[in-house]
């Protein structure tokens, strides 16, 4: 397939602080002891998409990500790592790497997605309709909205979680309306012109844009050139294309250029696309064009993932906890590990003390030691961690090389790598930055431990 894949891997996202740090950019955050980026790469590889560009914000982060990629998967995939300036937004990042894009269609995937929806299916839908843009929609995650409303979580803001409002045509193939971010909180306004053209529109608030897009390269580049103020794909570029689909401003030039040489081929493609989409009836775009012959239209399509599919973006701490829980729990086929009969994974080299229990939906990494009379439930513990005796770890994530003293109790918290909890620390809904030391006996609730 002539698809180029761009993975927007972000940088040191502020949403995820203190989880990310100078050592661990967002793309390398461990999910069930594997960097989150590896899930995306595996997913793409499973669709046979191997020509990838990973865009990372900031040189430092790019070096780190590049280092990991070259060690992990250089033999399987053709990956380029490109660094862009920080805080340019998703659209800005694409602008910066535009010269790398050569294929007819571009698949853009956010680097923080943990999912089993096939990107190949999105690409196929895109091709079948000869669409300008195809967005993948999935059901809202069960754990509640983890969508921060900010494109790939790069913009330096924290917003309350919110959903997307999405308008589909009656065949659920075309995207007619999209409202994201702050617009959600307003009344939904839908243009009558598009309703007239499409006849029906189904407005869904239970779907969300999962940040996997296929763009026609020419269209994408045109929009990025024409609208220098656009920062975000999700909030600017996509809504713009959806809004202008009946009065396209992204086509005319391109048509004339391509018409010269490829006229025949285009016709063929058109016929082919009609056959493929089973279109005995022309799509409403064509009907509309035939009425207003001065108009050009472009198609905005959607691929709606099956409800049983898993798709979560790791763009908040809550989402990080959810993803870790799901990957070793309900969605364990994603982890790539084989689970024991107790629905957990305990690495053979891990040492467990006497009377220590590791419940189902748990993971214990290589070389970790757990003392006596401990209890681990629904948690991920990284490699080479040292956990004392009488420790309770529930619904938490403990990253590699962390040290937890005797008698600690950890619930709903994230302990980053090399962090140290001294004796009898009790944490509830806390985050501990990498290398931080929490002193003995403290009882904390909902706190963030980080060096300022």
């Amino acid at each position: 397939m002539d698809f180029q894949v761009v993975i927007l891997a972000g940088g040191f996202s502020s949403n995820l602080q203190p989880l990310v740090s100078k050592e661990v950019p967002k793309a390398l955050l461990p999910v069930a002891n594997r960097p989150v980026l590896s899930y995306v790469l595996d997913l793409l590889e499973s669709s046979n998409l191997k020509d990838l560009i990973v865009v990372v914000e900031g040189e430092d982060a790019a070096l780190k990500v590049g280092g990991w990629i070259s060690s992990a998967c250089v033999d399987r995939l053709h990956v380029e790592v490109a660094a862009v300036a920080e805080n340019v937004g998703t659209a800005g990042a694409l602008r910066a790497i535009a010269h790398h894009l050569t294929a007819k269609d571009i698949l853009i995937v956010s680097g923080d997605i943990v999912s089993d929806v096939s990107p190949g299916a999105v690409a196929a839908t895109h091709r079948r309709h000869d669409a300008s843009v195809t967005a993948m929609l999935c059901a809202e995650p069960v754990s509640g909205p983890s969508e921060s409303g900010v494109a790939s979580g790069k913009d330096k803001t924290k917003k309350p979680a919110c959903y997307d409002i999405i308008g589909l045509d009656s065949s659920k193939q075309f995207l007619l309306h999209i409202a994201t971010g702050v617009e959600i909180k307003k009344d939904t306004r839908i243009k009558k012109s598009i309703l007239r053209a499409a006849g029906k529109m189904e407005i869904r608030s239970d779907l969300m844009d999962s940040h996997i897009y296929a763009f026609k390269r020419s269209v994408l580049q045109k929009v990025l050139d024409q609208k220098p103020t656009f920062r975000s794909l999700k909030e600017d570029v996509l809504p713009y294309l959806v809004r202008t689909q009946l009065r396209s401003e992204v086509f005319p030039d391109e048509k004339t250029v391509e018409d010269n040489g490829k006229n025949n081929m285009q016709n063929n493609e058109l016929v082919l696309s009609q056959i493929l989409s089973n279109a005995s009836l022309p799509s409403f775009h064509q009907v509309y064009e035939s009425f207003l012959n001065s108009r050009k239209t472009h198609k905005c399509c959607v691929y709606i993932a099956d409800e049983s599919k898993y798709c979560v973006r790791l763009n908040s701490i809550q989402a990080y906890m959810d993803v870790n829980r799901d990957v070793i729990g309900d969605a364990n086929h994603l982890s790539g590990y084989s689970f024991s009969a107790h629905h957990n994974i305990v690495h053979p080299s891990a040492e467990l003390g006497s009377k220590t229990t590791v419940g189902p939906h748990c993971m214990l990494g290589e070389g970790s030691q757990v003392g006596d009379k401990c209890s681990v439930k629904r948690s991920v513990i990284g490699r080479h961690c040292r956990i004392g005796s009488n420790v309770k770890v529930v619904n938490s994530v403990v990253m590699d090389h962390a040290t937890i003293g005797d008698g600690c109790s950890i619930q709903g918290s994230v302990i980053c790598s090399n962090a140290q909890l001294q004796e009898r620390v009790s944490l509830r809904d806390c985050q501990v930055e990498a290398g931080y030391v929490v002193y003995a006996g403290g009882e904390h609730k909902g706190e963030t431990f980080a060096r300022k």
Binding site: K156, D187, S193, L195, E202, I203, S232, R243
Partner: protein
Amino acid sequence: MGAQKKGGARVSDDTEEQTRQRLQAILLADSFTTKFRPVTLERPKVLLPLANVPMIDYTLAWLESAGIEEVFVFCCAHSTQITDYLQTSSEQQSHPNLLVRTIESHRSISAGDALRYIYEQQTETSQIQGDFVLVSGDTVSNMPLADLIREHRERKKKDEKAIMTMVIKKSKPSPMTRQSRLGTDELFVAVDPVTKQLLHYEVDHVRGSVCLDKALMESNPSVMICNDMQDCYIDVCSPEVLSLFEDNFDYQHLRRDFFKGVLGDDIMGYKIFTHEIGSSYASRVDNFRSYDTVSKDIIQRWTYPYVPDVNFSGNRPLKVGRQGVYKASDVVQSRSADVGACSVVGYGTKIGNGGRVLNSVIGNGCCIGADVVIEGSYVWDNVVIEDGCEIRNAIVCDGVRIRAGAVLQPGVVLSFKVVVGRGFVVPAYSKVSLLQQPMKEDSDEELEYADSSSGTADRLSGLSLEMESKGSELGPDGVGYIWEVCEGAHDEEWKHSVAPIPEDKLAEIIQAMEDDDTEDEIVPRKSEELKSDVDSVNTDVNDPGDDYGYFEREVEGTFLRAVEEGIKVELGILEINSLRLSYNMESADCAGAIFYAMMKLAVDTPHSSLRELSENASSIIAKWKGLLGNYVKHTDEQIEVIMKFEEMCQETARELSPLFAQILQVLYDKEVVQEDAILRWAEEKAGADEADKVYLQQCEAFIQWLKEASEEEDEEEEED
């Protein structure tokens, strides 16, 4: 009260009641509109013939075959004509299985009134026993009702609040014909795709977008907005509907008021559901265009079994020939005459040599001369058309006489017994009647009914005599008045007429569609760019600012209204206070907004020189200082006013900037702002950038004077 009693009874023996409950319908034999004028001045709309059978017969025959046992026909306009007609048809046993009762009321001017009247009647005699079908007498349909009623009842059993099920039907697929086919306004409905509950109903062609409340989106994960539906005006209602109309005496229109009331009311929580029909036919004859459309549908047999060759209500069936030509057995047609496709010719009609009839309906007992062309027209009974006339896309009522060589241009409506003079050309879209156009167009009280029919007839005969003597607007030997198109309705004329939509109007529609599109485009894009420019943190902060913008506009509107209508200051204060509360604003905000409105008014008042502008401003300040003064009791608020003024001079109303000092002085003189405020403002500004100091410098002298004055005062005080 009656409804409640019945509700109690139903709980006790539910199933039994259901089985013996009679299927009842209310048929509104009056549409409470004036769309069919002038024809409806002389005959009620439901008795107008559709393919030579009165409309009401289609409705009654359908209700009968759909299993309705009892129908209440509500008559208002020309009620005697309707009751007489129903009387004779019941004598003829045309609807043997249907008990037709008539309810007459002359005071009703809307469907709401009609239902209220029925409700009042009902409590006396307990006529409506349960769920009923509400239709208007101009409905043509062949849909089965039994399933619909069952569906409604089952839903009602589960959910007490589901009081109504309305029937919708998919309209033709093209975006163009969708709005023009039936001549009605565009309809936008929002429906829950699973439960089919109606969530939003909008018939509005002004705004460019449909607005769904955010609460609606929050409570429904999925909403289907349809533009390709037509409302059939067939509703299955529970008795609560009648009592709702009784409770809300301001409900007039079934859709405009009732739906709006029910959908907008969260407290009662009543729900309306939709039922989409697929294969069967249902449509309402609402205006001349739908008259044309429905007639054609009947001829093309979409409404089977209600077609001209079937006796469905005592009508004499016609013989159907090829190409949809229906002809009575005794039609006398000259050999050279040609009756083309999709035409109906009634009993006792004669067509002369060389006549051509195409896509038209010709009634009973007509006499059509030689070389007459009739295309796409509706000629009712006993019409005489003399040689060589041309009739295109017109409606010609009973007893009309069209003299030789006359031409009817598209869209003409000739009411009863009009005579068109020899060789006269009736201009397109004109409506001609023997009755003069009513002078007073009371659009609210759309009265279809004239006086009793006999009175009308008397007046008519006298009138026609008088007319004949003095000649008429329809040529020397014609009789009748050509009605003037009233303003506003002019644009609608082509939309509602039987004539096909002219090319230029089609082009206009397309243009309008494009314009629509572009207009909308501007608004979101603006906000878009704003949004992407400012950091998203700012958008949150901006929100109150936005609110303030609205508030400012509201205050401005209130103020202008106060000025125009000469509202007293106290009342103005009341209104602005209520705005302030609803927008949660400080009184400083109010002061700023009012001052802004005042200055804007000054600028907007025509003026030729700066002096005039300054006079305007001072007079406005003098007049409304009471209003402004209410909000500037503290120094802070006064400073706010000055700052606002400064801002205006810089941004919105640059004209004022040379007058800054003058107007400030006026404000001081009128005691709107006090010297403390001015001095403090000056102090604050002293530290600002040079650019910001323009106005400070302008009023330096004034401030100097203020300072000296206050020092003097101080000195005086010291001396004391």
